[in-house]
C-alpha cells in the first residue's frame, strides 16, 4: 500500500490494530510510514477509524496490537505528555479560565521554561498567527477563526516536530475555512513540521496535503498524493469518496495493451483503463469524472467508443455548466463543462453523443 516505499519513516504504524469492545476491530492492520516534514491527511467517513489512529498517535488510546514508532522509538508505553506532540482539537479546547497569553504559556510553563523566554516565545507565536495584541483576551472574547489561530499557535509554541490536527476547521464557515487551509499550509511549509491532519472534507484533504490516506472500514483504501488520488483512484470506494463521479456497471469484454473494452449492462461498449479487475468476464464498475466527459466530436479521441445520451437538466453554475444526462439507462450521469466564450448551452431533451479518453475512465472492482 505504501507507494513511496521509504524503509523508515518519522512516524510509523506497524501492524496496528484497535478494538474497543473485543468483538470488532475499529482499526484493522494499519501500516503507515511518513517521512519528516510531510503533511499527511487521514480522510474518511465518520467511524472509519481515522480519529482512533490519531488518538493512538497522541497517546489517548492504546493500540490493541502492533507498534507505533516516532523517530524510530516505540511510543506505546510513553504517556501523552512525554510524547512532545502538538495537537489541535476539533473544538479548539482553549482553556476558558486563562487568557490567550496564559494559554500559550501553559506548555512552556509545564516544561519549566523561565518567564522571560516564555514571554518571548508567546509573543513570537502570536505574531506567527497574526494575533499580536490579543494576548490579554479570554478565549470566549474571540471569534471562531481567532480561536482557531490561537489553538494552532498553542500547539506550535513549544516547537514540536509533529503536530496532529483533529478536524480543526470543522466549526468554521466556508470562506474562513478556505483561508485557514492556506494559512495552515503555509505554516507547515515555513516551519518544516510534520503534520497529521484528520478530516472528512475531501476538498480540504486535496488542497492541503502532500499525501492523503483514505480510510474506510478500519483500513487504508489508498495512500497517495492528491492528484493521483483524484485521477487514479485505486478502487471504487476511493473513486466515489473523492470528488464527484459517474458510475457505469458492466462486464469486461477484453483487455489489451492497458485498455479494456467494457460491455455495459444495457449493451453499449465503452473504453476504460483496467485498475483492479481480474480480466475478461469480470464484473466491473467504470468510474469517470464529470469534467472529463466530452460531447463535442473534436474533443473525443477518434478511436474511442462513444455513447448516446439525452439531456435531462441544465444547471448554470457560473464558472461551469452542469448537465444531467440519461446514459445507459441511468438518470444521474453528470457532465460538467467550462463556461468558456461561445460555449454551447445544451437544452433539456437534446440528444448528444458523449465520449472520453480511455485513460480517464477507470474500470474498478464491483463493490
Amino acid at each position: 500500500m505504501d507507494g513511496s516505499g521509504q524503509a523508515r519513516g518519522f512516524v510509523e504504524f506497524d501492524r496496528v490494530q484497535k478494538s474497543y469492545d473485543g468483538v470488532t476491530l475499529v482499526v484493522k492492520d494499519l501500516n503507515l510510514a511518513m517521512p519528516k516534514g510531510e503533511f499527511l491527511t487521514l480522510l474518511g467517513p465518520s467511524g472509519s477509524g481515522k480519529t482512533t489512529c490519531l488518538m493512538m498517535l497522541a497517546g489517548f488510546e492504546t493500540a490493541t496490537h502492533g507498534e507505533i514508532r516516532l523517530d524510530g522509538r516505540p511510543i506505546t508505553q510513553v504517556p501523552p505528555h512525554r510524547r512532545g506532540i502538538g495537537m489541535v482539537f476539533q473544538n479548539y479546547a482553549l482553556f476558558p479560565h486563562m487568557t490567550v497569553a496564559e494559554n500559550l504559556a501553559f506548555p512552556l510553563e509545564v516544561r519549566g521554561i523561565g518567564r522571560a523566554a516564555r514571554e518571548e516565545k508567546v509573543r513570537r507565536a502570536l505574531d506567527m498567527v497574526q494575533m499580536a495584541g490579543f494576548g490579554g483576551r479570554r478565549p470566549a472574547q474571540l471569534s471562531g477563526g481567532q480561536q482557531q489561530r490561537i489553538a494552532l499557535a498553542r500547539a506550535l509554541v513549544f516547537e514540536p516536530e509533529l503536530v496532529l490536527m483533529d478536524e480543526p476547521l470543522g466549526a468554521l464557515d466556508k470562506q474562513l475555512r478556505e483561508r485557514m487551509q492556506f494559512e495552515i499550509k503555509h505554516l507547515h511549509e515555513r516551519l518544516g513540521i510534520t503534520v497529521v491532519y484528520v478530516t472528512h472534507d475531501q476538498s480540504e484533504a486535496l488542497t492541503m496535503s502532500d499525501r492523503v490516506a483514505v480510510f474506510n472500514d478500519g483500513m487504508i483504501q489508498q495512500l497517495a498524493p492528491p492528484d493521483e488520488l483524484y485521477e487514479r483512484p485505486a478502487n471504487s470506494f476511493v473513486a466515489q469518496f473523492i470528488g464527484e463521479n459517474n458510475r457505469l456497471p458492466g462486464r469486461i469484454e477484453s483487455v489489451e495493451g492497458g485498455r479494456a473494452l467494457v460491455r455495459l449492462d444495457t449493451g453499449e461498449l465503452i473504453d476504460a483503463t483496467p485498475v483492479n479487475v481480474t480480466g475478461p468476464g469480470a464484473r466491473t464498475l467504470v468510474s469517470i469524472r464529470p469534467e472529463r466527459v466530452e460531447f463535442k466530436p473534436d474533443q473525443i479521441p477518434a478511436d474511442a467508443h462513444t455513447i448516446e445520451a439525452e439531456v435531462l437538466e441544465f444547471i448554470y453554475m457560473g464558472d461551469s455548466f452542469r448537465t444531467r444526462l440519461r446514459v445507459a439507462g441511468s438518470d444521474d450521469f453528470i457532465m460538467k463543462y467550462r463556461n468558456a466564450a461561445g460555449q454551447r448551452r445544451l437544452e433539456p431533451g437534446e440528444r448528444v453523443t458523449i465520449g472520453w479518453s480511455p485513460a480517464d475512465a477507470r474500470a474498478l472492482d464491483m463493490p
Binding site: A58, G59, F60, P79, P80, H81, R83, G84, I85, G86, M87, F89, Q90, N91, A93, L94, F95, P96, H97, F106, P107, V110, R111, R154, A155, F158, L164
Partner: protein, 425 residues
C-alpha cells in the same frame, strides 16, 4: 414607514435621535416597553405578595423582637416614669417604692404579674416568683412602702434587681444581643461577661461554625470524586449512580437519622462489627453517637447530595478535550487536574460549599436527635428558647446573629469568588 424614513430628515440628523414623527427615541422606547414591563410585574405580583407575607414580615418582626420588648413599660407605668425622671445610680427612695407598690397593685388588677416577672427574670433569674408572690398580696401594701415591700420580701432591696428593672423599663434594648453573646450589665450599667458557668452561646456559635466547616470539607472530599464519576461515566451508568445519590432525598429525614442511630450506637452495627473483627475490645466500644462525632457523621451523609449536585452540574459540560489538550501540551495528569480541571470546577465547589455550609449552620433536627450534649448546635438552643424557655427575644437575637454571620459569609464569598460564578445546577 419606508416613505416617512425617506422623506423626513429626522432619524439621522445631529443631536438626540428621534423617531420618524419627531419624538425623542429614548422616550418612545420607554413607552413601547412600559406595557411589557407592567405585564411582567403583574405576573410576579402573586409571588411577591407571598414572599412579603410569609418571609419578609415574619423575619422583620423577629428582628424587631430581638431589640424590642415592652412588657415592663406597658405594665409598670409609674416605676417606668420614676426611672426616666431619675438618672442611673439614684438610690431608690420612698417615692420609687411607692411607684413600685402602685404598679404591683396594677399587676394584680390586670393579672399581668407573670408577664413582667418573666421579662425581669430573663436577665435576673429567680425573680419571676418575686413579682407574682408580691403582686398577689399587693392590696395589703400600705405606706411606708419601702418597709412594707422589704418586709414582704427582702429581695426588693437588691441593687441588681433595680438595675435590671431600669434596663427593662426601656422597650428598646440591646440586652438580648448582649445575652446572646454571653454578656450582661452589672449594677452600674457597664457591660461585663457573664459568669463562666453561664457562658454558652459564644461557645455554641463557635462549635456550630466549626462543625459546619468540618461537614463542608467532608462533603467536598467525598462528593468531588463521585461528581466526577457521574459527569464522565456513560449515561447508562451515570443514571444509575445518580439514583443512588438522590435516594436519600426520597427517604424521610427522620428515617435516615434514625438509621444512623441503629448503625452507630454502642450496641449498634458498626461497633458490633468492629468488636467481632477484634479491632476494638468489647469494653472499649466507640461512642459514635450522641456526641459531636454523631452529628458530623449523620449530617455529612444528609448534606452530601447538596455538594454533589452543584459539582456535577459544573463538571458535566467540561469537555474531556480540555484535559487531553493539557496532556498533549506536556502536563502530567496531576498538573492537568490542578491547573485545568480543578479551576474549572471552582464555581461548583463554591456553590456546593456555600449551600452545605449555610444548611449545616442552621440544621436542627439531626443534631437534636443524634447530637447528645456535645453535638448540639446553635439552632437547637434557638428552638429551646422558642418553645421551652419562651424567651423569644433572646431566640430572635441568636437567630439574628446567625443570619448576620451567614450574610457576612455570603458577602465574603462575593468579594472573593463573585456571586456571578455561583452555579447551583
Amino acid at each position: 414607514m419606508a416613505q416617512s424614513e425617506a422623506s423626513s430628515p429626522g432619524p439621522e440628523t445631529a443631536g438626540a435621535l428621534t423617531t420618524a414623527d419627531g419624538r425623542p427615541l429614548a422616550a418612545a422606547l420607554a413607552r413601547a416597553s412600559a406595557r411589557a414591563r407592567r405585564r411582567a410585574f403583574l405576573l410576579v405580583l402573586p409571588l411577591l405578595a407571598f414572599i412579603l407575607v410569609t418571609f419578609v414580615l415574619p423575619i422583620g418582626q423577629m428582628l424587631l423582637r430581638s431589640v424590642h420588648n415592652d412588657a415592663f413599660p406597658r405594665n409598670m407605668p409609674a416605676l417606668t416614669a420614676w426611672f426616666s425622671a431619675n438618672p442611673r445610680g439614684t438610690e431608690p427612695g420612698e417615692d420609687a417604692f411607692a411607684a413600685l407598690a402602685a404598679d404591683l397593685k396594677g399587676l394584680r388588677a390586670n393579672r399581668t404579674a407573670g408577664e413582667v416577672g418573666t421579662r425581669v427574670n430573663y436577665e435576673f433569674s429567680g425573680t419571676r416568683s418575686l413579682f407574682t408572690a408580691t403582686a398577689r398580696n399587693a392590696e395589703a401594701l400600705a405606706p411606708p412602702y419601702r418597709e412594707a415591700l422589704l418586709a414582704a420580701d427582702p429581695a426588693w432591696g437588691d441593687p441588681r434587681l433595680w438595675a435590671v428593672m431600669r434596663d427593662a423599663s426601656r422597650a428598646i434594648t440591646p440586652n438580648f444581643y448582649l445575652a446572646a453573646l454571653d454578656r450582661a450589665r452589672d449594677e452600674t450599667g457597664a457591660v461585663v461577661r457573664a459568669p463562666p458557668e453561664r457562658r454558652i452561646y459564644v461557645l455554641l456559635f463557635e462549635r456550630t461554625f466549626l462543625v459546619a466547616g468540618v461537614i463542608t470539607a467532608l462533603t467536598l472530599l467525598l462528593g468531588y470524586p463521585v461528581a466526577h464519576l457521574l459527569a464522565t461515566l456513560p449515561l447508562r451508568w451515570s443514571n444509575l449512580l445518580m439514583i443512588f445519590v438522590l435516594l436519600p432525598f426520597w427517604t424521610s429525614l427522620l428515617v435516615r437519622t434514625t438509621a444512623w442511630i441503629v448503625l452507630l450506637q454502642g450496641q449498634g452495627v458498626v461497633n458490633n462489627v468492629l468488636v467481632a473483627l477484634g479491632i476494638v475490645p468489647d469494653s472499649g466500644r466507640l461512642s459514635l453517637i450522641y456526641n459531636q462525632t454523631g452529628t458530623i457523621i449523620a449530617m455529612t451523609h444528609i448534606l452530601l447530595p447538596f455538594m454533589i449536585l452543584p459539582l456535577y452540574s459544573v463538571m458535566r459540560p467540561i469537555p474531556p478535550s480540555y484535559t487531553r489538550a493539557a496532556r498533549s501540551l506536556g502536563a502530567s495528569s496531576w498538573t492537568a487536574f490542578r491547573r485545568i480541571y480543578f479551576p474549572l470546577t471552582l464555581p461548583g465547589i463554591a456553590a456546593g460549599g456555600l449551600l452545605v455550609f449555610i444548611l449545616a449552620v442552621g440544621y436542627y433536627i439531626t443534631p437534636a436527635l443524634v447530637g447528645g450534649a456535645s453535638g448540639q448546635l446553635i439552632s437547637n438552643l434557638i428552638a429551646f428558647h422558642m418553645s421551652s424557655s419562651l424567651n423569644w427575644s433572646l431566640a430572635a437575637a441568636l437567630a439574628a446573629i446567625l443570619l448576620a454571620a451567614v450574610l457576612l459569609l455570603y458577602w465574603l464569598y462575593d468579594r472573593l469568588i463573585g456571586i456571578d460564578n455561583l452555579k447551583l445546577g
